[in-house]
Amino acid sequence: MKFGVVVFPGSNCDSDCYHVISDVIKQPVEYIWHKNKKLGNYDCLIVPGGFSYGDYLRCGAIARFSPIMKEVIDFANSGGLVIGICNGFQILLEAGLLPGAMLRNKNLHFICRFVKLKVENTNTPFTSKYDRGQIVRIPIAHNEGNYFIDDEGLKELQKNDQIIFRYHGENPNGALDNIAGIVNKKHNVLGMMPHPERSSEKELGSEDGLPIFKSIVAWLGEK
């Protein structure tokens, strides 16, 4: 079992993800530079948060054309597990691996704090270690987390059980239908605005993100 963390110029949560995989769940992990044209042997790819290419043009719009993304798309299309966190989620949206787009937060502020999420679907490789309906505390840190999709797309997401996390109690950024995280139709690609890698150790104030990484390990182990 091997994890890969994709690194773009401007990624800044790559080390956090690497740390959680290597030191907390103790699994093999490597950084993958975005200029690589060939992907090695990985079982799960993490597209981390940050400000790839300075968020120029639109968040994730430029990173989406980095050489490694062609490999990431092929990997995802062949059923490989991919998780995009925050800017990683935005990159996966721009790459078309997940439906929808991000708008600026409704209040136009960069929001960096803990929020409550409701786990809506535990029948995915990323969430089997949660209970359905469980309320978890995971931090967000973003300026463009206001998820948008057209009516038809939203119905598709709801019908296929693709909404994995919803903001609970309050909607911090104006996201449609309180959406905080979604998967693709095949349920092998997850995008989420909250940062599970920042909430996987007691010392950081919450361990509620850890089940995501444990779920992945369990799913890969069973495979």
């Binding site: 721009e94 787009a101 409704k106 136009l108 948008f148 057209d150």
Partner: protein, 84 residues
Amino acid sequence: MMFNVEIYISLKKTVADPQGATIKHALESLGHKNLLDVRMGKFIKIKINSNDKSQAEKQAVDFCQKLLANPVIEDYSIKIEEVK
């Protein structure tokens, strides 16, 4: 021939524009009470070499569809003029 390509990108009418709404509010606080709507967008200026205008136009559409605009949330319009 050289062409000036001007590309305007704005949020679709069906998409809420919190920046536009905030700008409208600020302008109103300056005393402008007759504003009906404010929308915020992007303006991108590109100079290109091309044999003819329609070729340049085709290329500009390609810029927008592949990179400059996100069709989920944005519309674009293109203005092209030959530089004499």
